[in-house]
């Protein structure tokens, strides 16, 4: 892999050089989720592990059944004990004038419904648990 020299320019700006070509990058944020902007692309990198730094990219599957953002629960479509199939609508959220459906990622049975209609929910907190 190529070696890159990174020189801080202050105020979140960094110069990245591969020895011949140099580019401007921007970075900030805590080590667990450090934001980087380079060439029009933005990345969030976890650098807490030093050289074993991993990419952290939030996706539906690792978010489980949580809201991806602060939102209001518009309606709850399942109850505890109910069997569900992959793709079934579990909870309808509403945020920023849009409806955000939370759907079952797989077949299963609803173990717990952890939200109620009208409730303001925070990201990362599971709304429904499946067996």
């Amino acid at each position: 892999m190529v070696d890159f020299d990174v020189t801080p320019l202050g105020n979140g700006r960094y110069q990245v050089s591969d020895g011949t070509q140099q580019r401007l990058a921007y970075a900030t944020g805590p080590s667990a989720s450090r934001w980087v902007f380079i060439d029009g692309r933005t990345f969030v990198v976890d650098v807490t592990g030093g050289t074993d730094s991993k990419v952290r990219r939030t996706r539906d599957d690792d978010m489980g059944l949580a809201s991806p953002m602060p939102a209001t629960v518009a309606s709850v479509h399942v109850s505890e004990g109910q069997p569900v199939s992959r793709g079934d609508l579990l909870v309808m959220l509403e945020a920023m004038k849009m409806e955000l459906p939370i759907k079952a990622p797989r077949d299963g049975r609803v173990r717990k419904v952890a939200c109620a209609q009208g409730e303001l929910v925070q990201p990362g907190v599971p709304l429904v648990e499946l067996d």
């Binding site: 990174v6 801080p8 944020g29 805590p30 989720s33 029009g40 692309r41 933005t42 602060p70």
Partner: protein, 496 residues
């Protein structure tokens, strides 16, 4: 000209209007909700009044709160911006009843053009073709299905009261109709407080081309040419440009004259936009009246950059009773302008809106680039409002030059702390079909997978190196990045 203007809006458009006030020597009054107490529009205005809690229904959508603020500050006029109360004829009427100048068309004109049925009658009177469709007077599911059948599937279901693509659903067959009606109605009620639905024929691969018009109170009416707004995702515009690559000068003149005829027939005054669907290209293309937006448009800057007309200044002049200073023959388009809408959203998660702190926010500054924004570094994208961060407008003497400028500017537009659609927009502007100007309203959704894939790779080694070398900040939200060196800044040549 009035001396004090209240701006009943927030974000980039409030900032845009405050700047116009500065230029004219008008005192600006901002209104803000609790969520916007440190927002730029509040800080920039000459005066600012708190109008309520974060939810828009109790602040930016509250006629009572806005009018109280106007009264308290002695404002003589109100500019509604776009969204919120901008197309609410009751609000416009209440302003006038309260002795204020409403910067926009007369309330009865807003009402008639805001209703899709009445607007189509106006178009028919002006002799302008419309897309087949109707608002069933019986709004039951069965009656809407009855209305959809003679129009022929696929149909489009949309809120009668709305705009901006909210609550709009494409329905391919009758079986999918009930779900689309239910969801469309819920979104219509949530966004506009009115669940009435409109159903119309879906035209295959249409372009969305709109014409900016300006009419004063002295019988003068002009068009400021077209904006091509075909690049939409889920019926919401993300890239707009002027001129349109589909229009010949003859078609442009025909559409411009049709737009002016429609606005004149409606008794319109001030700035407005007549939206058309365009089928085909060249002199043979057919255009259908879609709707008229009775307000300033989000994408008005592409018209400003190509005509040299400041539309907000013109709005204020017309509202103050002045005549338009130019005739149609004095107006022309020069060069090409492209606007991209920078949103806090994640294209990899189906454009899910993102809320969060703007840990780092730096607007590009280069020739031919204009950025209209209402945020600052250290601020926050709130969950309560539209996730639009800014509009970036590139001008060039040719379309290709404007396009390259837009790409170069986006590559130099770091926004950290919330995910944005910047990489997606770059991929869009670099797509061969966009480069050739061959676009229609289905283009973005059709090419979505390709566009997302090219904008969402894993971080390359250089990004990881920068992350390792960067000076961290505390994970406490709003703190701005610091210059305090830490051991990481000493790192050189990290092996990624």
């Amino acid at each position: 000209m009035f001396r004090r203007l209240l701006i009943a809006n927030r974000g980039e458009i409030a900032v845009r209007i405050i700047r116009a006030c500065r230029e004219l020597g008008i005192e600006s009054v901002a209104v803000y909700s609790d969520a916007d107490s440190s927002a730029p529009h509040r800080a920039l205005a000459d005066r600012a009044v708190r109008i309520g809690p974060a939810p828009a229904a109790h602040s930016y959508l509250s006629t009572e709160a806005v009018l109280r603020a106007a009264k308290e500050t002695g404002a003589e006029a109100i500019h509604p911006g776009y969204g919120f109360l901008a197309e609410n004829h009751t609000f416009a009427a209440a302003c006038i009843a309260g002795g204020l100048i409403f910067v926009g068309p007369p309330p009865d004109v807003i009402a008639s053009l805001g209703s899709k049925i009445a607007a189509r009658h106006v178009a028919a009177r002006a002799g302008i073709p419309v897309v087949p469709g109707e608002t069933p007077s019986d709004q039951s599911e069965a009656a809407i299905a009855d209305a959809a059948r003679p129009i022929g599937f696929p149909v489009l279901i949309k809120p009668s009261a709305g705009g901006g693509g909210i609550g709009m659903k494409a329905v391919l067959d009758e079986a999918s109709l009930p779900a689309a009606i239910a969801q469309g109605r819920r979104e219509a009620i949530a966004a506009f407080g009115d669940g009435t639905l409109y159903v119309e024929r879906l035209i295959d691969r249409p372009r969305h081309v709109e014409v900016q018009v300006l009419l004063d109170g002295h019988g003068n009416a002009v068009y400021l040419f077209e904006r091509e707004c075909s690049l939409q995702r889920r019926h919401q515009k993300i890239v707009e440009e002027a001129p349109s690559t589909a229009l010949t000068s003859r078609l442009r003149a025909r559409m411009g004259e049709a737009a002016v005829a429609l606005a004149s027939t409606a008794g319109y005054r001030n700035a407005g936009t007549v939206e058309f669907l365009l089928e085909g290209t060249g002199d043979e293309a057919r255009f259908y009246f879609l709707e008229m937006n009775t307000r300033l448009q989000v994408e008005h800057p592409v018209t400003e950059q190509t005509t040299g007309v400041d539309i907000v200044l013109a709005q204020l002049a017309v509202a103050a009773g002045e005549p338009l200073p130019w005739s149609q023959g004095e107006l022309s388009q020069r060069g090409h302008a492209i606007e991209v809408r920078v949103y806090a959203e994640d294209p990899a998660q189906n454009d899910l809106p993102q809320a969060g702190p703007l840990l780092l926010y730096r607007e590009p500054m280069m020739p031919g680039i204009r950025v209209d924004s209402g945020v600052v570094e250290g601020g926050e994208i709130s969950v309560h409002y539209d996730p639009l961060i800014a509009k970036l407008i590139a001008w060039g003497d040719t379309r290709e030059r404007a396009r390259r400028r837009a790409v170069a500017a986006l590559r130099n537009y770091p926004i950290l702390g919330v995910r944005t659609n910047i990489a997606f927009l770059i991929a869009l502007l670099e797509h061969p079909r966009f480069i050739s100007g061959d676009v229609d309203t289905g283009f973005v959704d059709l090419e979505r997978a390709t566009l997302v894939a090219s904008s969402a790779d894993d971080p390359p080694a250089e990004a990881v190196n920068v992350a390792m070398a960067a000076t961290g900040i505390a994970a406490t939200g709003n703190s701005a990045p610091t210059n305090v060196p830490d051991p990481w800044t000493m790192l050189r040549g990290w092996r990624g």
